[in-house]
Amino acid sequence: MRKTKKVIGLGVFFLSVAAPVTVLAHATLEQQKAAVGSSYKAVIKVPHGCGSEPTLRLRVQVPDGMVSVKPMQKPGWQLDVVKKSYDKAYQYRRGASLTEGVREIKWTGKLSNDDYDEFVFVGYLSDTLKPDTVLYFPVIQECEKGSERWIEIPAEGKTSRDYRFPAPGLKLMLPSSN
């Protein structure tokens, strides 16, 4: 078993080396699995601007089924939210029914193309969401000229890998038994 541990240790080591490289990539979620009927902290990882330009604004569309969303303030960034009614009423904790909330979050500031940053918000994954599906969080990076839209949602039988600008995805799991 000592050898096994060594292997895992090496694996973790390799991953930690590889990780900074792999995140030089699309806008993605840090935690890509969560159970329905639970709180979820979404951390959107943004590795670069649009090509060579800095990112001036980041917009996230809150997917249907994620309710009671609260974004996290970022120093140096102005935070705006768009509140609208949900597509239907959602049962929240302790029987509360929610019909409206944050549907879009905008952070306005400046992220140099050479830098990396994270954008955070929390919310509740309604238990009406289907486990074993993927919930997509379309993200738009607005730059000086043009924008990068991470909004492509895979068609049936395809995965994000088949797309050039895939929306960050969250794999929904069965609610934990406890």
Binding site: V7, I8, G11, F14, L15, A18, A19, A25, I140, R149
Partner: protein, 539 residues
């Protein structure tokens, strides 16, 4: 992340097995916890996508947003030839040395690179040398090449009709003096040489290459592959047949050979050109075969006829009468077949004046009418007068001389049709357009591309909702790829017209074959519809 630590590991003995496990573990960890997708993208390039350069660049530079390594990079030249390139990688940009002798037109640099995290990224850059490759394979050739084509075609007509028609006359109507036979042989040689030259020049024209490259194999191969190739071969064979049939014996053989050559003239014309591609095919092709063969009888008979009359101004009367009878039939056949071809090709009266094709037709008909006037004079005035004395015979020779000059002029005019599409071909655009339906979930697109031939293609798209109502899309981008030809996707942004259609002009689909089109329709800020379709581009 450590949930994968429960993965049971087999006993390890060799380092290679050890590494396999490490890799497997890495993959598992990578897949299960962090499927982060890489995104290396091309930021800029020299030459840039869509650029037109006057002098061919030595180097191409591709700038990416992160370090990449090259899997393959090649340039697909405007003549369809793919050249593999050697790339020098410098962190986030790569340089390639381009081939020094590329033909004018649109060139596609197709690349496949791997970003730092091992994800392949591919794409294409299309730039043009001189001018972009033209529509329908009709390239902008230099004046010299165009003049060459015209001259070679004229020489082909003169040699072919002269030799074959002359051989027919000598074999079936009346013998001709020895010097005429030499001229007819020379005509046959002119026909063969012109036919061969036409092939090479046609190749140059298709490649848009200058005359100086006439000796390149590529030009001849290209010309040979076109419909002109086979036609020129038949022309050459007809000329050879006519040449051989000019021997004095055996009569049965030379006579049948001259008939075969005559049939070959018509066949050669029916193998290429605008008229032979028109519908109904059986009628058009039959008309062309007859028209060509009969024209040869008339035009080619003029020289030996004049020679025969000159040699014996009065005794040649029976020969003249025989030719006259044949020519009358010939004129009737020419008029009938010419009428059929004209009606189908020109379609409307207005096209006669409004199109170059129509104007050439008027010019041709004017010359034909003059020739008919002379022919009538010869037949109804000069021929009956021949019995009276040699004077009429001499006048007849002069008249036939003028008629021959007119015939040369006529052939020069007919050659001009090589450069003008008939009104039929230009009025019926749907024939050469492709219509596609691209289906998405929330939207679909009705896309028209024209022409359907390799070259610069224009696209027009209507974007509709699933219930077929027009959608006011924010942005529409099309990507084109032809993986069979090694062309990775290149993208073109569509422009919205005032009527709400989305258009892209001059898309360099320069290679024939199956192309894949992707449409990316931005319906709203956060909603994008992706659609895909395939289309066939003809050579």
């Amino acid at each position: 992340m450590l949930q994968t630590s429960s993965f049971s590991l087999p006993q390890m003995s060799k380092p290679s097995r050890f590494m396999q496990i490490v890799c497997l573990l890495l993959m598992l960890l990578g897949v299960s916890s962090s499927p982060a997708f890489p995104h290396a993208s091309l930021i800029s390039s020299t030459p840039s996508d869509g650029e037109t350069v006057s002098v061919h660049p030595v180097l191409a530079i591709l700038q990416f947003n992160e370090p990449v390594s090259v899997t393959s990079i090649s340039v697909i030249a405007s003549d369809g030839v793919q050249h593999s390139l050697q790339a020098d990688t410098h962190q986030d940009h790569i340089t390639v040395t381009l081939p020094s002798q590329l033909p004018a037109g649109s060139q596609v640099i197709s690349y496949r690179v791997i970003s730092a995290d091992g994800h392949p990224v591919s794409g294409s850059i299309v730039y043009s040398l001189g001018a972009a490759t033209q529509i329908n394979g009709v390239t902008v050739s230099t004046f010299v090449v165009t003049s060459g084509i015209w001259l070679a075609r004229w020489g082909l007509y003169i040699g072919l009709l002269g030799a074959v028609g002359g051989a027919f006359f000598v074999n079936w109507i009346a013998p001709a003096p020895a010097w005429t036979i030499s001229w007819l042989r020379a005509a046959a040689a002119l026909g063969v040489v012109s036919a061969a030259l036409s092939v090479g020049l046609q190749g140059l024209d298709m490649l848009g290459a200058p005359l100086s490259t006439l000796l390149s194999l590529r030009a001849w191969a290209e010309g040979w592959r076109s419909s002109l190739g086979t036609s020129a071969l038949v022309v050459a064979l007809a000329c050879v047949g006519a040449f051989l049939s000019l021997r004095s014996s055996p009569k049965i053989l030379t006579r049948s050979l001259s008939i075969v050559a005559l049939a070959a003239v018509g066949t050669a014309f029916s193998l290429t050109g605008h008229a032979s591609s028109a519908e109904p095919q059986w009628l058009m092709r039959t008309a062309i075969i007859l028209h060509g063969a009969v024209a040869a009888v008339w035009v080619g008979g003029l020289l030996p006829l004049a020679a025969a009359v000159r040699a014996a101004p009065t005794q040649s009367l029976p020969a003249v009468l025989r030719f006259s009878a044949v020519a009358t039939l010939a004129v009737a056949a020419l008029a009938a077949t010419g009428a059929i071809l004209s009606i189908i090709q020109i379609e409307t009266w207005s096209a006669l004046l409004l199109t170059d094709y129509g104007r050439l037709w008027i010019a041709k008909l004017s010359v034909v009418l003059m020739m008919l006037g002379l022919a009538a004079l010869n037949r109804f005035v000069l021929t009956p007068a021949m019995a009276a004395g040699p004077q009429a015979g001499n006048r007849l020779v002069r008249s036939i001389g003028v008629e021959s000059v007119l015939a040369l002029l006529l052939l020069a005019v007919v050659t001009g049709w090589r450069f003008t599409p008939p009104p039929r071909a230009t009025s019926t655009t749907p024939v050469s357009a492709i219509h596609l339906h691209m289906h998405g979930i929330k939207a679909w697109a009705h896309v028209g591309l024209s022409p359907s031939r390799a070259g610069l293609v224009n696209l027009s798209a209507m974007i509709l909702s699933a219930t077929s109502h027009p959608i006011d899309a924010k942005e529409v981008v099309f990507l084109f790829s032809n993986l069979m030809a090694g062309i990775e996707p290149f993208q073109r942004k569509a422009v919205k017209t005032p009527d709400g259609d989305w258009v892209v002009t001059m898309i360099p689909l320069t290679t024939a074959g199956l192309w894949t089109v992707h449409a990316e329709v931005l319906i709203s800020d956060f909603e994008k519809e992706l659609m895909e379709a395939q289309l066939k581009i003809l050579p």
